[in-house]
Subunit: 235 residues, 2 copies
């Protein structure tokens, strides 16, 4: 079931001065089976990095005192090549971030969706773990999703999905054949702090169905009173 396999648990360090955010990320990561620790300041981050030896770091750029850039410099000075995914405010330092993402690192704008962050983390890990990294292709029945090229196919047929549709489908595919509630989908795929009603989930599912269930048997099933599943219909 898991797409990315480590022999050992992935070790994640989350650095954000807003404890709820740091905990949120750490919690979600632990649910994926990772080891996660948090730091709420740049200084603490350096301490944790030295002790914990993370495989990957989520680093907020906007930190009081020693900021994200500072943390990054010090990390690199100490010789560690640990990959980093940056977090930045929307209108923050977007241009300066661009230069940071060369080494296989990545960045995300706040507020983000947790599934999006986890996907980026998995991608960065995959790319940075040795040279011969392989593609990540999700598959459920005759539906495939290539996370590198963002190509989605039902059988041979190429589907054109909007960003939201893509994210919802990825979540459904990743969790398949587990049944997900609308609240779970909403909470994982939409940005934290999104106020909208779970009605949007129905809508996106409806649009997804039109695109992918058009050709062939339905793959997205409604579990009335509970939620949705993506799976091949069992007999």
């Amino acid at each position: 079931m898991p797409q990315y396999e480590h022999v050992e648990k992935v070790r994640l360090l989350v650095v954000d001065d807003d404890p709820p955010i740091a905990d949120l990320v750490a919690t979600v990561a632990r649910y994926e089976g990772w080891d996660a620790v948090t730091a709420n300041s740049g200084e603490e981050a350096l301490r944790q990095a030295a002790e914990f030896h993370p495989d990957i770091v989520v680093l907020d750029l906007m930190l009081p005192g020693l900021d994200g850039f500072g943390v990054l410099d010090r990390l690199r000075q100490s010789g560690t090549m640990v990959p980093v995914v940056f977090l930045t405010a929307r209108d923050g330092v977007a241009d300066r971030v661009a230069g940071l993402t060369r080494g296989g690192d990545d960045y995300l704008v706040k507020p983000f969706a947790v599934e999006e962050l986890m996907a980026r983390l998995r991608t960065v890990l995959r790319r940075s773990s040795g040279p011969g990294f392989q593609r990540s292709v999700l598959q459920v029945a005759d539906l495939t999703m290539d996370e590198d090229t963002r190509e989605v196919r039902r059988g041979e047929k190429l589907l054109t999905l909007t960003p939201t549709e893509y994210e919802v489908l990825r979540y459904l595919m990743r969790k398949s054949p587990t049944v997900l509630t609308k609240a779970q989908i909403l909470d994982h795929v939409w940005e934290y702090g999104f106020g909208g009603r779970s009605n949007v989930v129905e809508l996106v599912v409806s649009r997804l169905r039109r695109k992918l269930d058009d050709s062939g048997e339905p793959l997205i099933h409604t579990v009335r009173g509970f939620g949705y599943v993506l799976r091949q219909a069992a007999e």
Copy 2:
């Protein structure tokens, strides 16, 4: 038989300003062999959390004084990652609930059914107790129920159950081979405060029988004048 196994008893803190509700939940939990304490205000909840060190918390969001969100914040600030299942009024704070299932927590709308609550608690515990959590599959004779995929099978044959049927069957399976009275089933599977003390249970059992006893020997047996059991017929 139990899906989630603690070496020690599960420690549950129930927070609700309505004492009957809090006691109801605590009582059911104790009946399952858990340790349970109650708190009727946010302040008391924090005190209890500090003293009792629960493994999981049931937290009503609508509390006088320090409300559920406040309690949650304080809990998290104090560094405890204890998982929480929230209770909310139907048209109350349903919108503000967005984001709560993201960290692995869950929520339930009042009035709820006790078995539903217990099931959610077990799920959350299972998922948050370390990595590599396994599926929860109930089995009685050749009848299986996967609580993640909600797939129910009699032998190979896949059954399609409505939500109520599913809940009644889960309760029967979980308690098998104990005989349950209709009142017990009604009290556990239907929302507390459900008015119709009619023959709904008979009806649902009847519908269940048609779906699952159709193929093979009957598994649901009537104990006339008392109730129902789910078990393989004893010769």
